[in-house]
Amino acid sequence: MSATIDKTADEKPGDEKPSNEKPSDERILQTSPLKKLLSRPELGSVVGALAVFVFFACAADGFLNAASLSTVLYASSTIGIMAVPVALLMIGGEFDLSAGVLVTSSALISSMFSYQMTANTWVGAGVSLLVTLAIGAFNGFMLTRTKLPSFIVTLGTFLMLTGMNLGFTKLIDGTVSTKTIADMEGFPSAHDVFASTLTIGGVGFKVTILWWLGLVALASWILLRTRAGNWIFAVGGNQDAARAVGVPVAKTKIGLYMGVAFGAWISGQHLLFSFDSVQSGEGVGNELIYIIAAVIGGCLITGGYGSAIGSAVGALLFGMTSKGIVFAEWNPDWFKFFLGAMLLLATLLNTWVKKRAEATT
């Protein structure tokens, strides 16, 4: 990725607004809409997702039922809500290994605060939002102050949070899961917001799907239409060059980590309000799934390239594969193998399509 802070590969297709920037080398070239489409980062994953969809539509009976697809979408949305901010963070050139357990932490804080203070559940959710954002800010602050790799910093946070989740839950509740808050004030409305099911044409769709699509839209707008989006691409592409031209690197990275924390808060509240109580030991390992979803969606591990829509397609691919295997009635012993093979194939297809696309532009 070059050190330019202008967007090249990330123009919205069909966007014909004349830019007020000085015309320079490649951007005055008239490119056809098809070529523009081919240069999108998420194109490969879309092809991969279509391939997987067709595959399971043939291999698994019942996969094409509306109810089954709703289950697949729900499974995808629970990954996708986190994959969006994680993708942004990866475009900004960093990792967050604490994202998986942060979801559980967020749900635990919300539940225990409401219960112990006998407060309206919205108060607990608010406190949880503040604390979760603070943890995200801590990640970003540690990273920018210590100059340690994000891998190390967030690995530390991940382990600390895992311990704190269990330790605090045992300390406060005396067991490994929180007490139910389903009978408290504010629960019904919070349940509606975070965990309700919308019935469309006799099929129940979980509200998380809406949250997911909303986050994808928001993140796409930030990336493609705002100055902050430019900064994210810049710090991920080349941090030093970005700093040299006046991009607030530290602020951007802390903001990105807080974005992940915000996603974790939404996921955490969903966990809490759909299940009434939270298991303290969960969430470990999910951080890798979020990263995988982002990478399948076209994010580069090295940063500076990717898209929010891609992360959504990556999450959809993951959801289709994990549930498709069940619908296809394959032996669950091989589940992880199939999952790995599918993901590898999808990503290979993804890179192949991208290479072909670059060759034709």
């Binding site: 019942g62 039922n65 109810a67 089954s68 289950t71 729900y74 499974a75 629970t78 269990l166 067991t175 490994v176 899961s177 139910t180 966990l271 759909s274 299940f275 009434d276 109580s277 298991q279 303290s280 030991g281 969960e282 969430g283 999910n286 994990s322 549930k323 069940v326 619908f327 009635e329 669950p332 012993d333 589940f335 992880k336």
Partner: protein
């Protein structure tokens, strides 16, 4: 390249000669095949239609205990002409989604574990709304009825823990360690709390990462080294008993190792006195009965248990019974 070829030839010759000259006349695959051939020919014993039952558990990957449950369920499925589907995930949200997937498939019966009851509530309700009978197994005896399941088949974990506490008293133990290998499993907490309830001595808890055996061993070892007055270690799963034995030997401790659940290794170690006792909850029955009772419900509207859980344990197994169980643990049904 030439050197590589020489090595390849040597290696090939070596393996060939080894495999030809080193046949064991005891044990191994041949003995296992013979046993399998002698076992029942899998044919249905009924002429009911081929129903599909899905079992969804909270097991992690590659778990001995759930393997035995599956063996029971599969044998019952063969007998009852059932198409048996098994899936599992140790994260509550994923497990609930798997139940949803089974309901989407319009299966004829669902068997589910309620280790994380709150998380499973909506999914179980959805199954019942779709007219699919549900039987809960292994964990969730308290919630099963409220969720509208036909029956719960399993062991009351607190009662099992209390039985262990009594047995420890009988053996004159003073200070015991309870090793929990799955953080967040309510059933495990209940077991340790049950032990604490009836045990006259002091009980300490130790959390270990059950998916990482070396970690389990070093954690127990460190604990035994740090406190040499510990005279009993209770593990909550059969595979961990053997690890605890290794840890005890390395730490030079005198503690007696006792465990929940059985496997071949535990049966052998009970027999030679390495382990004190085991508490069995008969997982084979949990799988077998779940499928069989669903079949009976579909065929005849029968429900077992009269609204109370059907208990499959606890059964204390000591040196005296271990010999008889060896053959069963070998074939993976105890």
């Amino acid at each position: 390249m030439a050197r590589f070829r020489t090595w390849a030839v040597i290696a090939l010759a070596g393996t060939l000669s080894l495999s030809l000259s080193a046949c064991s006349s005891t044990g191994g695959k041949r003995a296992e095949d013979a046993r399998k051939a002698a076992a029942a020919q899998g044919r249905p014993a009924v002429n009911t239609p081929r129903w599909t039952f899905a079992m969804i558990t909270h097991s992690g990957d590659g778990d001995t205990f759930w393997d035995i449950v599956q063996n029971g369920a599969k044998q019952a499925a063969v007998k009852d002409n059932i198409n048996f589907l098994y899936s599992h995930d140790d994260q509550a949200q994923q497990q609930a989604q798997l139940v949803d997937a089974a309901v989407d498939k319009k299966v004829d019966g669902v068997i589910v574990t309620l280790a994380k009851p709150d998380a499973m509530k909506a999914a179980v309700a959805r199954a019942e709304k779709a007219g699919i009978p549900v039987i809960t197994v292994n964990s969730g005896s308290a919630e099963s009825k409220a969720f509208g399941a036909l029956t719960h088949i399993g062991q009351d974990e607190t009662v099992a823990g209390e039985a262990v506490g009594d047995e420890l008293n009988k053996r004159g133990r003073k200070k015991a360690l309870c090793v929990l290998h799955e953080q967040g499993n309510v059933g495990h907490e209940q077991r340790c709390d049950g032990v604490a309830k009836t045990f006259h001595g002091t009980l300490q808890k130790l959390y270990v990462n059950g998916t990482d055996m070396p970690d389990v061993q070093s954690a127990i070892e460190a604990k035994l080294q740090a406190d040499n007055s510990l005279d009993a270690v209770v593990t909550l799963g059969a595979p961990y008993a053997d690890t605890a034995v290794k840890a005890k030997n390395d730490a030079g401790s005198k503690a007696e190792i006792d465990t929940f659940d059985l496997n071949a290794q535990v049966a052998a170690e009970l027999k030679n006195g390495t382990l004190g006792f085991a508490v069995d909850q008969q997982p084979y029955l949990q799988g077998y009965e779940a499928v069989d009772l669903l079949w009976a419900y579909k065929y005849n509207g029968d429900v077992l248990g009269g609204g109370k859980p059907v208990l499959t344990g606890p059964q204390i197994v000591t040196k005296d019974q271990a010999a008889a169980l060896a053959a069963y643990t070998e074939r993976g049904t105890r």
